[in-house]
């Protein structure tokens, strides 16, 4: 479980996060949604420590991340996995080497054990062995995202963070990535936080949804509640996609 309390973050004189307080539960896919520039990426990067918050506290299972020393943070980070927007795979390494990298850095496993683990994780994200020796530039965007997920889970993390995992992907591949993240979250009992503005993801895997608007918490709920939420800004965001407006209208008509 991850808990954030009254997080405030400014860049120069612009306050981007204006006191966010919430909890992200274990075994659930927690989604942070909002328009571009609403502060969701800053919130995610603040939670993982890529941005230092100006005020507020972040707890990882009651361990205060904001007050940790660098060494303690490094240790905690070995319990985290993160999938970046562009995949952030290392260009100089092959697919298999990218996934093996965290093990090379932090475990004393034998080469065979590492090889088996790499094969397992890549199989888990449906990457065929023929692709193991390819470089990231030689595989598609969807495959890069899946390799990034494999790398993120290779050390069995307790916490998984995904920054816009579907950006630049077609709707079909996006669905594959979404269900993959959701299944892994449940199977490995991770606390997963996903930053997205993809409404399809919201409706597919949003166990808990946090809507951020102009750096403030706009709404909290689940995918079953979001179509009926009484929040003007959230409605503007959700029903910008006509499909969901029609879905809501149909439900109202049917009285469900």
């Amino acid at each position: 479980m991850i808990r954030v309390e009254n997080i405030i973050k400014s860049f120069d004189s612009k306050m981007v996060l204006k006191g966010i307080t919430t909890e992200f539960q274990k075994g659930q896919t927690n989604l942070i949604i909002g328009r571009s520039g609403s502060g969701k990426t800053v919130l995610l990067k603040s939670i993982v420590g890529l941005h230092e918050v100006d005020q507020g506290e972040i707890y990882y299972d009651d361990r205060n991340f904001t007050r940790m020393k660098m060494k303690e943070r490094k240790r905690l980070r070995q319990e985290m996995g993160m999938v970046f927007q562009g995949g952030a795979l290392f260009d100089s390494l092959t697919v298999a080497e990218n996934v093996r990298f965290p093990m090379d850095m932090f475990t004393n496993q034998t080469a065979k054990e590492k090889e088996e683990r790499v094969a397992y994780c890549l199989d888990r994200v449906n990457i065929k062995p023929e692709a193991f020796r390819l470089s990231p530039a030689e595989i598609s965007g969807g495959m890069q995202k899946r390799v990034a997920i494999a790398r993120a889970i290779v050390l069995n993390p307790k916490y998984l963070f995904c920054d816009e995992p579907n950006s630049g992907l077609d709707p079909e591949t996006s669905l594959v990535i979404d269900s993959l993240i959701h299944d892994l979250t449940v199977d490995l009992n991770m606390t997963t936080i996903i930053n997205t503005h993809d409404m399809n993801s919201v409706m597919e895997i949003g166990d808990k949804i946090l809507f951020i608007s102009e750096g403030e918490m706009g709404w909290i709920g689940s995918k079953s509640e979001i179509l009926h939420a009484k929040n003007k800004k959230l409605e503007e965001f959700v029903f910008a996609n006509r499909q969901y407006k029609e879905m809501r209208d149909a439900r109202i008509e049917n009285g469900s």
Binding site: K45, V48, G49, L50, R73, K74, R75, L76, R77, Q78, M80, G81, M82, F84, Q85, G86, A88, L89, F90, D91, F101, P102, D104, M105, F106, F161
Partner: protein, 245 residues
């Protein structure tokens, strides 16, 4: 103020670079690959430049010494001392700041803008140390070798061109190359090449590490890194010459 801001951030980065590595084995592997990428792959360029510059220096000295009272073996001596004292250390440093320096800035800068450095940080790896330390060690290690190679091929260039155009005989040239040799010059230039190696690797790494934006900014950072490295090489050349000669 701008200077102090960059100086402070540069030294703060260096403290991270020289902190204890997470896994020595991985760093050693990276060190060898950097020696290959940044050092061994540079040897060809150094050889070509040095042969031509050795030949050109020999010709320049010969054209400016057409005085019957000056012994012609001084042409070989002039080429040798120019190579040992300035060309193979300072001028080569300036040239390699362009090749190696821009390579380092663009590689690290691209990793920054594609979030690969953030990715290392999230894994609990010290990105400054993991990415920059092997590069600095590799370049500082390889620079004295490149210096020796440059002097050697510069002298060969003089030997090919001087007698080739009839400016000096091979025997006179070789006599001049050995005449009044001062080993201290080599030691002095070795020290310079170590310092220049450090500058050529650490300054571009700094510019790459803190780049913000996209491809355009990475290109601009590369240019800034090369210019800054060149200026610092000249400043340190002046300081070291005053201190060590």
């Amino acid at each position: 103020m701008h200077f102090f801001y960059h100086a402070g951030r540069y030294f703060s980065l260096l403290t991270k670079v020289f902190s204890k590595p997470e896994r020595h084995k991985v760093y050693v592997k990276r060190l060898f690959s950097e020696i290959d990428a940044l050092g061994v792959n540079t040897v060809g360029l150094v050889v070509i430049i040095s042969i031509f510059m050795g030949g050109i220096i020999t010709l320049q000295v010969a054209y400016n010494m057409q005085n019957p009272f000056l012994p012609s073996y001084l042409i070989g001596l002039g080429n040798r001392d120019t190579l040992i004292l300035e060309f193979s250390s300072t001028i080569l440093g300036l040239i390699l700041a362009g090749k190696i320096g821009s390579n380092i800035t663009s590689e690290i800068g691209s990793m920054r803008v594609t979030e690969q450095i953030d990715s290392l940080e999230i894994m609990g790896v010290n990105p400054a140390s993991y990415l920059i330390l092997p590069k600095i060690v590799a370049v500082v290690f390889i620079f004295p070798f490149l210096y020796v190679i440059s002097v050697f091929f510069g002298l060969i260039g003089g030997l090919l061109v001087g007698p080739g155009v009839g400016a000096i005989t091979a025997a006179e040239y070789l006599n001049g190359v050995q005449y009044l040799f001062n080993p201290h010059y080599v030691g002095f230039s070795m020290v310079k090449s170590l310092v220049f190696g450090f500058l050529v690797s650490s300054i571009p790494a700094y510019f790459g590490y803190f780049v913000e934006g996209g491809a355009f900014e990475v290109g601009a950072a590369s240019t800034r890194a090369v210019v800054t490295t060149n200026i610092l090489i000249l400043i340190w050349d002046l300081i070291l010459t005053q201190l060590l000669m």
